[in-house]
């Protein structure tokens, strides 16, 4: 789960990482109030879960509350790379002497947290890594040992940090590591980590990702999820516990098991179609879950035909067939469906469909055959 800048900064503050004074605003009036409270020049920052907002005009300096209100007016509702701005973060403007970069990532290849620090901050870190790798200090921490003072010293010396900044940097890194572990983060990034003309270090931006599987032990963070930021189909899927990702095509796809569904998307694309979504009903799905999944999938107006691809392991194909028939009864299904059932109780499942013989449902024997059929049906329905 990705957090907004202001949410990440709330966690920074909780762990003692210095951040600017600020508050969140959903309307221009709220932005004005925030600027009045801060009583100093402020920066109005669009809150979106996508990069590149600065270039898109989503970050503006305001000298006074009037200007804060005007900028908020312009930024709220703005579309930044497909994301609508619903809130702005209004914070005290900072004087910047230098910009650094610090991050902790969950390095799944090395199976250790990876810490990176560079004084070439404020830019894309991939660029630093590629063009000036010797300016990027990096090290792994043994998760059973944790972050120790020597880690901080190594990073600071390797990155060439001025001596007088090392104590502050070490404190920030230790706090960030504690936040990383205690909030089950997959990423904690401070870019830029600025130095003010007075020599104070502080976090000017945040990028923060928390492991979805660990949200059960962080109810406060789980509540930060912004369902409004999701497309309507995905919001519905989340509310009903369906694993669904919206894509930009027109062939609706349902299957069981993440790998098989991903493979089905590829095979449909190989047959010349464009998948509308990824939808995994999971293992052991019952008829009711099939109906729910169908409902989510069909809420996408772009879907012109549906492919049901199931390989029964724990999932029983007769149960899936019952779910399909129930869905056809309860929902107003206007698009053609191709069904391919294999594995546990596949014969019974196919028999159920053959007996009911619903119109517009086509049973196919193989995955490839089913993909070709659904692409053909989706094309003719255009």
């Amino acid at each position: 789960m990705d957090l907004y800048e202001y949410q990440g900064k709330q966690l920074f503050a909780r762990y003692g990482i210095p951040v600017s004074e600020g508050s969140i605003a959903a309307t221009p009036a709220e932005a004005r109030e925030a600027a009045e409270r801060i009583a100093a020049p402020v920066v109005i920052k669009a809150q979106v879960l996508v990069g590149g907002r600065g270039k898109a005009g989503g970050v503006k300096l305001a000298a006074d509350p009037d200007e804060a209100e005007q900028h908020a007016e312009a930024i709220l509702g703005m579309d930044i790379r497909g994301h609508t701005v619903h809130r702005v973060w209004v914070e005290r403007s900072s004087d910047i002497a230098r910009e650094y970069y610090f991050s902790i990532t969950f390095d799944r290849g090395a199976k250790r947290p990876l810490l990176m620090l560079t004084t070439a901050g404020g830019v894309e870190i991939e660029e630093v890594a590629e063009k000036t790798p010797d300016r990027l200090a990096r090290l792994h921490v043994d998760p059973l040992v944790g972050f120790e003072p020597f880690h901080a010293r190594r990073l600071c010396f390797d990155a060439g940090l001025p001596a007088e900044e090392m104590r502050q940097a070490a404190d920030i890194m230790a706090a960030a590591y504690r936040a990383f572990v205690e909030t089950d983060a997959m990423l904690v990034e401070i870019n830029p980590l600025i130095v003010t003309p007075e020599g104070k270090l502080h976090a000017l931006d945040s990028k923060y990702t928390v492991d979805d599987n660990a949200l059960f032990r962080h109810p406060d963070i789980a509540e930060m999820r912004d369902l409004e930021a999701l497309p309507p189909e995905e919001r519905m899927a989340r509310e009903r516990g369906v694993t669904y990702v919206k894509l930009d095509g027109y062939v609706g796809i349902i299957g069981n098991g993440a790998g098989l569904v991903m493979s089905t998307l590829d095979v449909v694309a190989g047959a010349g179609g464009r998948p509308a979504n990824f939808l995994d009903v999971g293992g052991g799905a019952q008829a009711d879950e099939i109906v729910t999944a169908m409902e989510v999938l069909l809420s996408d107006p772009d879907v012109r035909a549906v492919l049901f691809n199931v390989f029964g392991g724990i999932t029983r194909c007769d149960e899936v067939a019952r779910g399909i028939l129930t869905a056809l009864e309860r929902l107003d299904v206007k698009v053609p469906m191709v069904v391919r059932l294999d594995g546990t109780n596949d014969v019974e499942g196919r028999q159920l469909l053959a007996d009911a013989a619903p119109p517009n449902v086509h049973v196919e024997e193989t995955m490839l055959g089913a993909a070709e059929r659904v692409v053909e049906l989706a094309g003719s329905g255009a």
């Binding site: 694309a269 190989g270 390989f311």
Partner: protein
Amino acid sequence: MPIVVNADTRLVVQGITGREGSFHTLRNREYGTNVVAGVTPGKGGRDVEGIPVYDTVHEAVRREGANTAMVFVPPRFAGDAILEAADAGIGTIVCITEGIPAHDMLRIYTHVRPRGITLLGPNCPGALSPGLANVGIIPAQVFARGRIGLVSRSGTLTYQIGKELADLGLGNSTIVGIGGDPVVGLSFVDVLDLFEADPATDLVVMVGEIGGDEEEKAAAFIGERMRTPVVAYIAGFQAPPGRTMGHAGAIISGSAGTAQAKKVALEAQGVRVGASPTEAARLAAEAFAAPG
């Protein structure tokens, strides 16, 4: 002797009295797996269809000589269950549980790895050596006995490929599901290494997907160390970056972890990569028929 699970397996099931746990335990036993015990804290002294239940894994090891554990415990307790099995001296731990926090797995992995413990999973379907033992949730009826090793990050996709192989008259020595999480115990490289040393395996089919770089590491390993031929399939060419595709580990981060990069890495080492499960099975059949 087939890898991970075989005729020497003496299985203890952690979480045996749960709905899923008991169902799959009995299926595994019915298949012929030697299930010697179950563990559910507080339910020691009972039995599940004749399988004795103990309060601790240590007791199951002491009394029944269990050497393999299958974990069917809910995600918030599963990490603890893995560590208990490791502490009790279990050599092979198969964790089926989905949804274990990644940080828990980081600590567990770092702890068990240097101890030489074989950890399969979590979030995996288990391992099946046809005709010998089935530990996990793999539907054994799909697979025939044979000489092709199959290793995969996915469950149902593995069944699909197993079926396509069976349709071509080919069977498997062992099917290993390594799991779809960001941190898993046995990696592709570990399992390829086991297959390379296994006289019962003549060919390996490897089924990867987007996310991480384990397929790339496997490609390097195949190029440097393997004489057994390998055929591959990769899922997720249509996956958009930054989105988790069902499995917690199936995510393209920035430009890293794409299906295309994995395919290129494998092909650079001479591994043929099928465009669909069907084609992967056909390539396996060709490679199998070719004089080695």
